[in-house]
Each structure stands twice: as C-alpha cells, then as structure tokens.
Amino acid sequence: MRHIISILLENESGALSRVAGLFSARGYNIESLTVAATEDPSLSRMTLVTRGSEDVIEQITKQLNKLVDVVKLLDLTEGPHIEREMMLIKLKATSTARDELKRLVDIFRGHIIDVTSSTYTVELTGTGEKLDAFIQAVDSDDILETVRSGVSGIARGEKSLHV
C-alpha cells in the first residue's frame, strides 16, 4: 500500500539525513520526499511517500517517531487528505504542434511559463496521477526535460499537523 507520511522535523542540519539514513539502513523504500522550512523557522515539514505492508508501515512510523529530531508525524493516507505535486516540463514545440500543445496544457489546467521558438516550458500541478497522465498524453519524443517536486500533502478538514 502507498502511504503519504507528513513529518514535522527540527530544522537542524543533519535532520534530513537521519530520516534518509533510517530508510536506507532498514531497507524501506522512498518513492518521493519533499522538505522545506515552515512558518516557524525552527521546524521543517517533510512529506514522504512510501510503500509497504501494514506491518512495514507501522514499523516505519514507529522508527520515525523514535528519531529525536522528529517532533510529530501523521500518516495522511489514514484519513481524507489532499495531495499535490508540481511538475515543470520542457517540450519541443515546433510550429505545427504549438497550438495542439497549448490546448493540451489548457485541458490539464497547466501554464506555459517559458517560450522559445522551438520549446514550451509548462508548469502543472495536481496529483501524481494527473502528472503521469499529462506525460502519457504528449509524445515522448517531444519531452526534453521533466522536473517533479515530489508529493506534498495536507489533511482535509479541521485536522492539522502542528506543534
């Protein structure tokens, strides 16, 4: 099962490597990982996507909680939540295909944020599946570069992860 784990972490050098080190040392997989400081400069927020059986996920959350730098965590997939990922994708856009590409970007509610005579750079936000679908929809020969942010997530409703 795929799980999205949100972590509030002490914003200290080395904290990220404790989390990453835990995953490699114990053989857990990381599908994506994003991290940045929060409005409270002493805390970082990390979103980690992993896969594993219920037993493995239970161990992962326990082991994460055991790290002294982990202040709090929440398995978002246990409740209703929103997940978003951002992608920057640079596409070949030659004269004949330009209009069609523009329409496709509109359908996916993306933005063209940089243009040259032969390329478009597109910004797209959504679930991982939506980004996958966009990639499927364009001709793979036309993709020059993709940059994905990894998943960020937040619980729906009034539930919030804070100190």
Partner: protein, 574 residues
Amino acid sequence: MELTGAEILVRCLKDEGVEYVFGYPGGAVLHVYDALYQQEDVKHILVRHEQGATHAADGYARSTGKPGVVLVTSGPGATNAITGIATAHMDSIPMVVITGQVHTWAIGSDAFQEVDSVGITRPCVKHNFLVKDVKDLAITIKKAFYLATTGRPGPVVVDVPKDVTAQRTEYSYPKEVSIRSYNPVLKGHPGQIRKAVDLMLTAKKPMLYTGGGVILSGAQNSLTEMTRMLGFPITQTLMGLGAFPATDPQSLGMLGMHGTYEANMAMHHCDVLVAIGARFDDRVVGVVKYFCPEAQIIHVDIDPSSISKSVKVHVPIVGDVDHVVKEMIRLIREDKRKPDPVAPMQQLAQWWDQINEWRSVNCLKYDRASALIKPQYVLETLYRLTEGDAYVTSDVGQHQMWAAQFYKFDKPLRWINSGGLGTMGFGLPAAMGVQLAHPDATVACVTGEASIQMCIQELSTCRQYGLPIKIINLNNRYMGMVRQWQEFFYEGRYAMSYMDALPDFVKLAESYGHVGMSIDKPADVEPALREALKLKDRLVFMDFITDQTENVYPMIAQGKGHHEMHLSPERELA
C-alpha cells in the same frame, strides 16, 4: 567568570557526577586533556586502544546502571571507538562519547584527522550532536546525558571541534532539560494492563519471558515479587540474566538458540506468554511461524518500535517495566482469582509437572569423567568458589554460552556481555570498567583464545591502574563457535577457525607484569582457581587448555522451532 570550552566540558562531567572518563588523547582534544590535568574530580583512565575505552565505559555502565563516559580524539580516535559504540547501541547501554573534531572553519576540507563523526556514528547511536558554538556546549552535554539515560537507553555522541574547546563563555550547568520531540512513556496504559492481568490470571500454561529491559529499568525487585506471587515459570534472555534469581525453583534458565530444554519447551507449549523488556531477537524467536504457536502474547516495552516488530503480539503495553509491573502487582492483589499466597505454584500443578518432566532431561549434563578439561567444569567451579557473587564479563563464542548456562546469576548487573552485536574483544576492557566501579569485588573475565587477542593490549591498562581481574581463558585452540557450526553445517570443513601460532599466554601476562597460570588437567582446575582468587590485588591470567571438541548444547539449528532442539549426543532424545 568565563571558562574555556575545554574547562566547561570537564565541569559538566563533574556536575553530572561522572567518576571516570575512559579515553585516549590526540590533537583535537588537547585543550580538554589540559583541563582534565588541572583538576581531580573527574578521573581519566588511559586505555591502549579507543575500542577499549568504549567497552570499559560500557562495562562500567552495565555494572552500575550509570552512564559510561568516553573521550577520544578526531579521525582515527573516533573511528576506533565505533565498534564499542555500536556494541552499546545494540544492547541499549547508556553512554556519552565525546569525540574531538577539527576546527569549525576546517570542517569539510579533508583536514588532518578529519572524519564526519556525526555521519559515521549516526546509524549506531541513540542520537548525536555537533557543537558549533561554545555557548551551546553545556546544554548539549546535559541533553546528551538526558537522552543516554532515559527512555530506552543508548549511546550519545557529542562531536566538539577544537576551536570550540578554546572559546570562552560564562558557565552554568542546566539543572533540567527538556526536548520537545522526546517524551518517553513510563506509565503503561491502564486498560491494557488490566487486559494483561486478566489473561495472566486465567492462563493454564503461563510463561514469563524477560530480558535486558528489566535490568535497564532496575525492576528486579518488582519482577521477582510478581513472579513469586503468580507462581509462573520464568525464562530469561542472555541479556536478562540476574533480574530474577537463577537458583529459584521457578527459574527455567535461559531460552533461545542455546537455552535450556525446559525453557524452550515451555515457550513452545505455553498458552499465555508475558514478554517483559525483551525484544524478540532472532536468537530467541528462531522461525516466527513456529514461535509460541498456542500463546496469547503480552509485551511490555518502553520502545514502541520493539513491539510487534518480528512477532505480532496481542496485548502491547508501552511503558517502563518497573512502573508496569508494580501496577500489575496492585491489580493482582485486588483480584479474587489471585493464586494462593502460600503455594502459588499449586494452581498450576499440571503445568509444573510437565515442566519438571522436561527438566529431568538434564539438558546441561556433560561428561564429568573426561581426562580433558571440560569448559563447563571450569565455569561450574568458578561459580562454586565465588559463591555466585562475582561480576562476570565475557567475550563472544562458546565460552560465552557456557558462562551464561553454568554461572547462576541471582543478582542483576553481574553478567556483562555483548549480546546484540556479539563483539569479540569486549570482555577484558569491559572488566576494567566493572573493576573500577567495584574495586573490592571479584571480577572474572571469561574469554577464549581468539577473543582475548582482540583487545589484549588492555593488559597494560590493567597494570597501570592495578585492576585485579581474573581472566578465565577457555583455550580450545579454535574459534570454537565457528568450528561448531562448521562441524554441524559444513561437514567438518574447518575453514580458518583453527587458532594457530598462539602466544604463550603465561609469558604474555607476565611480560605485562601480571600473574600467568596454565592449567591442563581437570584435577588442577579447582586448586588453580582457588589460588588465583586468593590473589586479591593481582590480575591473574588463567589459561585453561580445554577439550577442543566440546560443543554448546542444547542448540536450535537455524530454521527450526523451539521444540526441535538438539541435545548433546549423550542426551539426544529419540
């Protein structure tokens, strides 16, 4: 008044009540050594290798329950300490290790004797710190001791760059510290405890399985009280020996790979298993699907990640052993189903009959008529002559298992060995820490001719500080534990397990200024031990030339269940 970082460091240790620091100097910690030199409160023990410093601090901790403290230099000083840090980490031993580091401005430049100590030690510490500003030093040391000694204990490394030890600031040692992300749970959940007691009082074939957590919690008294009150059989892990008296009729001895027949059979057949401060290690569990097939399992542990890690349990209780067991006792007392206070075992008579039948197999029996010295005999004699009251450290191998089986520990903190990491070289330096903590006690180091050579240099430390350790070298000219596996599982192809070119241990001991003895006849074992134990102020190295072919029994081979033990050839059941 402003103090330098080095002075602050030493003052912190003093204010923390540290008696001994085990260490080795070098460039990055010279300021600290200079500060140590100018005071007398904190005593420094100079080892001969940094691995020895960590094991000595570890032995000190295991035999006192207080944290062990280590001081080493940057680079090779820190890397030499790793084995000892990992050893303490696997067995949850409280330790604070201070490593010197290159100047802050040189960090990351491949400077002389620079290693990323925080990075290298990260996987084998409870936590670690790099101190970049002298203003953070005292609070960091306080946090290090707090983390090392609370919750599930463990080693904490504090990496201190040289310039930080030279900077000055005001000193005051914080009385208390709290860390917002770290709040170990002590009291167990009342509902869960009630559920557990309910299961315990209705069990027909109950079993207590207790481990190192009981000793770490200091819960021997409450555990003993509860066990006697319930009349349950009890088995202990290698790490838990001594938390309940081994000579008590309710004790079935150690369980697991080299545990007793009665303990393992009782595990296999019990209907309620109460695991307390034990972590279901693979040497104990064997194959998960064969483990306690009939039992409802209760597990008390302070570390939630120990619970249901390998074996799924039915009643998890997160909390400190002493707190939880005391609460259990209270509930049992109030309960009308409580066992008869005069004859608590009576209620379980059928179960005890069965257990006594398993006991009658006498699984630890060995050949007493042998013309060769049997290692078991040496340990039995040591037990008898020390009246079970010695501190016993051990290395790793067959001798370790025999010591665990034949020395009956009635008290905690007496059996000092590396269980989780299984570190050869542990025994002698650990004994130094134990002897310093208990100067008048008999401290025996049970070792093998292979293990002892891994930290043999510490004989020099023992000489310098006059540590009268009794070294019991069970010399079988083999890495016996390795040889045993090769005999059983590799058709007797003894690849690299023969110990060739051994030193003359008697002369070796003498060259360090100690007493050496070589014993090769069974009849000489007792007189030699008596003589050695009489030499109260000398280290005696006793080289026992033992039967090379002796194996450790019982043994559960890999992939087998608790009920499928091998007994010794004479004892093998049909």
